[in-house]
């Protein structure tokens, strides 16, 4: 990461209020996300967060790193969902590697819950946007 501002570590608590808030703005009231009794008999045994909720930690890390509110033009983010985020979890987003090329910078980031990976993200941005 020579010459670049370190990519920040971001922690997000995913509690019932956060899941309820996401259900409200998305209109996604799938009982796996909002009904503890239904979820108890489901594949995960507990309420799990909507997939994009873990992504919030990635987005906050990138926005903080770049010093912007959204993502600037030219940024791409590729995400692989690896596992569920149970209610009450804390999602931790960290960079695992930062690669610098002539024209682009690539950040490989991982989100974990209790050290279990739940999401991988590959962030690519024009080198001119990378904070030094």
């Amino acid at each position: 990461m020579t010459g670049l501002v370190p990519f920040p570590e971001v922690r997000h608590l995913v509690d019932g209020a956060a899941i309820a808030m996401y259900a409200e703005v998305s209109g996604d009231y799938n009982p796996l996300h909002v009904d503890p009794d239904y979820a108890a008999s489901g594949p995960f045994g507990v309420v799990v967060a909507h997939g994009p909720i873990a992504l919030q930690a990635v987005y906050e890390a990138v926005a903080t790193w770049l010093g912007c509110e959204g993502l600037p033009a030219g940024v791409t983010v590729d995400v692989a969902f690896r596992g569920p985020v149970p209610i009450g979890s804390t999602v931790v987003c960290r960079a695992t590697e930062v690669l610098q090329f002539a024209a682009v910078v690539v950040v490989m980031a991982s989100c974990t819950v209790d050290e279990r990976e739940v999401l991988q993200a590959l962030v690519k941005l024009p080198r001119r946007l990378a904070p030094v």
């Binding site: 209020a17 956060a18 996604d28 983010v77």
Partner: protein, 138 residues
């Protein structure tokens, strides 16, 4: 946007992934984005922060809503494997988006069906982002 249930669009669709075919198009759909929703999605959920520019969290949210509109719900049993976001322009925190979706790829491997959707998000006639979703049919 907050609190609505997509005008009665069901959560689960009667459409199956095998019914879809590459090139199939839906929309564009009009998706209003409010400053209140942008505030909710700026940072950790539950810590609302105002701002002029929409946070990136609006992209998965809007595309989820549009996929539900396109397919009259989400086909049951699918697993969301990945999403890709290609940002081409910043969005204001409050705006009205036009979002079209196309079935961009279908692939069967090891007896499982993988379907990719490509969303084109426009604001005032300008493409703001391209978003891909890949879903594996259980």
């Amino acid at each position: 946007m907050a609190g609505d249930t997509l005008d009665g669009v069901p959560l689960l669709s009667q459409t199956r992934y095998q019914d879809l075919h590459p090139g199939q198009k839906f929309g564009p759909f009009v998706e209003p984005l409010s400053a209140a929703v942008s505030s909710v999605l700026r940072g950790e959920l539950g810590t609302e922060r105002a701002g002029a520019v929409a946070p990136a969290g609006v992209l998965p949210l809007v595309t989820l809503r549009v996929l539900r509109r396109a397919l009259s719900g989400i086909p049951p049993g699918g697993v969301l494997l990945g999403q890709s976001f290609d940002v081409q322009a910043e969005l204001p925190s409050e705006c009205t988006l036009d979002v079209a979706v196309v079935v961009s790829d279908k692939d069967e491997r090891d007896g499982r069906l993988y379907t990719t959707f490509r969303f084109t998000i426009e604001n005032e006639g300008v493409v703001a982002a391209l978003v891909d979703w890949t879903i594996r049919d259980a």
